[in-house]
């Protein structure tokens, strides 16, 4: 399905020189979809203290991609499926063993990265294919991938409408959530799967190395200035979108990696909001 109608509309609304090429318009559209997804899931990820989990999923992409490359399947698809598998496996282990969460994630992280690197190193000539996965390749995004991103956005919006309050309560105290009728186990698995999907989809734009930063940095920056749950949700989204657009534009002119440039703008936002927080706390 072609999104040409959308790109023509963008040309009218945003008649800037840097947005002229269609691949840039595609990249901008992808950012406008991925940024709020990452921000919203990042806030919940911090709520659940799962930043290490995010690293495990993103690094498991090595094995997911390797499985795709050696089996001649679509490596993006195998990356996503393997990421979901790792997310579910970590959640099962966390719920059914005495091991600490960090220990469980550490084991899965190590195993999945080691397996991926071992497979890739054994299959000569595969390493060149990994560049776009490690650093992201948002400028090569296709219309089909954008439609998948829109699908993920719809799912995340629906999940955020239905389950957001329950998830925040679970992060504060699971026992209270359970007493209040929340199906803690069900939502734990649902969140793990959606987080795995968010991470593996975002790897396309940001890359394995920086995808966790895409979830964390806008969320933490937004928390600095939020005064309640509403602010804690919307400020990270605004910061993520602004960083995304600024990063794309800057990377176009500076010829830098788009994913990394976006993260640098997000970090700049974090520094600004941290200063603002310190000033607000002193004035209070």
């Amino acid at each position: 399905m072609s999104l040409d109608v959308l790109y023509n509309l963008m040309s009218h609304i945003l008649p800037f020189a840097w947005l002229e090429p269609t691949f840039i318009k595609r990249a901008l559209l992808a950012i406008l979809i991925i940024s709020p997804i990452c921000a919203a899931m990042g806030v919940l990820m911090i709520n659940f203290r799962m930043t290490f989990f995010s690293d495990a999923i993103s690094h498991s992409a090595f094995t997911g991609v390797a499985l795709g490359l050696i089996s001649n399947a679509n490596p993006y698809l195998t990356m996503i499926l393997f990421g979901i598998f790792v997310g579910i496996a970590i959640t099962i282990a966390k719920r059914n063993t005495d091991l600490s969460v960090d220990a469980v994630i550490g084991v899965f992280f190590s195993a999945s990265v080691a397996l991926g690197i071992a497979v890739i190193s054994a299959m000569k000539g595969l390493t060149q294919n990994l560049h776009s996965f490690i650093y992201g390749d948002i400028l090569a995004i296709s219309d089909t991938e954008i439609l998948w991103f829109i699908g993920l956005l719809a799912v995340i919006v629906g999940f955020s409408l239905y389950a957001y309050n329950k998830l925040i309560l679970m992060g504060i105290n699971e026992r209270i959530a359970s007493v209040e009728g929340v199906s803690v186990l069900g939502y734990d698995y649902a969140f793990a799967i959606l987080l795995a999907l968010t991470i593996t989809f975002s790897i396309r734009a940001i890359g394995i190395l920086l995808v966790t930063a895409m979830l964390i940095v806008p969320a933490v920056a937004g928390r600095n200035i939020a005064k309640n749950v509403k602010g804690m949700f919307w400020y990270p989204i605004i910061i993520s979108i602004v960083s995304g657009i600024a990063g794309l534009m800057a990377s176009y002119y500076l010829d830098t990696a788009t994913g990394a440039t976006i993260i640098l703008f997000a970090v700049a936002c974090f520094i600004i909001t941290q200063i603002a927080k310190v000033i607000m706390d002193k004035l209070a």
């Binding site: 005495d98 955020s160 409408l161 239905y162 957001y164 309050n165 329950k166 925040i168 309560l169 992060g171 504060i172 105290n173 026992r175 209270i176 959530a177 359970s178 007493v179 209040e180 009728g181 929340v182 928390r223 939020a226 005064k227 309640n228 749950v229 509403k230 602010g231 804690m232 949700f233 919307w234």
Partner: protein, 251 residues
């Protein structure tokens, strides 16, 4: 109409094994309706585990039933629960209003608060003398303030049973007494069955009607004045344990 005198909670031959360890063995006890029951015992006695079993949160063998008739319109008792602690970091933007809305409001909080819910929460906080905390961040509350907020959550919607796990563990002595007075007052006004785990035997003596002594098995239980004897306390906690009354500024 004949008054219902059946117990609020009936525990029969309850045993709990977790990861191969016997946490509780053969517990049989009744908890009366509209009374304050304290569960006492040393650390590791299984007190919290017993509370979790009452809330059906962990697997157990034996039976836990709720024979007493519930408030109208309910086919099972509404249980309010106050945990020992919350996992909130000091910098969280979640306010008291946000926290209490999480289980009340279907609309996600990122779309704002419904006025009706906000008013209800304010009224609940007034009942626990904490309405001034409505907009306070959860992470910046003192131990005593947090316990009041948790109590406000537990007592909403006319609970049948309220369970508290060491409600005054993070509170100073004066605060403990104030909180215990508040609890007793609310229990008398609302008529719910109150079960609390407490290490503070001074509080237990003053406020509890019924005491259950646990140390993996049921060591003793009954009316407070009959149960809290030096012999029983020695049996539960070890030798040379006795009761010492807190001295507060009013003494």
């Amino acid at each position: 109409m004949k008054e219902d005198i059946s117990p609020a909670i009936q525990i029969s031959d309850l045993s709990i094994v977790l990861n191969g360890v016997h946490i509780l063995r053969n517990i049989t006890v009744s908890i009366n309706h509209n009374e304050i029951t304290a569960i006492i015992g040393p650390n590791g006695a299984g007190k919290t585990t017993l509370l979790l079993a009452m809330m059906q949160m962990i697997p157990y063998s034996g039976k836990i039933t709720f024979p007493h008739k519930n408030k109208p319109g309910r086919n099972k008792p509404r249980i309010g629960y106050v945990p020992q602690r919350l996992e909130v970091d000091r910098g969280t933007p979640v306010t008291v209003l946000d926290f209490l809305s999480l289980s009340e409001q279907r609309l996600p909080l990122w779309l704002g608060h419904r006025k009706r819910i906000k008013d209800k929460i304010f009224n609940n906080l007034e009942r626990v003398k904490a309405s001034h905390l409505l907009k306070h961040p959860l992470g910046k509350l003192s131990g005593g303030e947090l316990q009041r907020v948790l109590l406000a959550m537990a007592i909403r919607d006319e609970p049948d049973i309220v369970l508290l796990d060491e409600p005054v563990s993070g509170v100073d002595v004066a605060g403990e007494e104030l909180f215990s007075e508040l609890l007793t007052e609310l229990q008398k006004e609302e008529g719910f069955t109150l079960v609390l785990i407490s290490h503070d035997l001074s509080v237990v003596t003053k406020h509890a009607d019924h005491v259950i002594c646990l140390n993996k098995t049921l060591r003793c239980e009954g009316r407070t004045v009959e149960v809290l004897t030096p012999e029983n306390l020695a049996g539960i906690y070890g030798i040379d344990k006795g009761l010492y009354r807190h001295h507060t500024e009013s003494d």
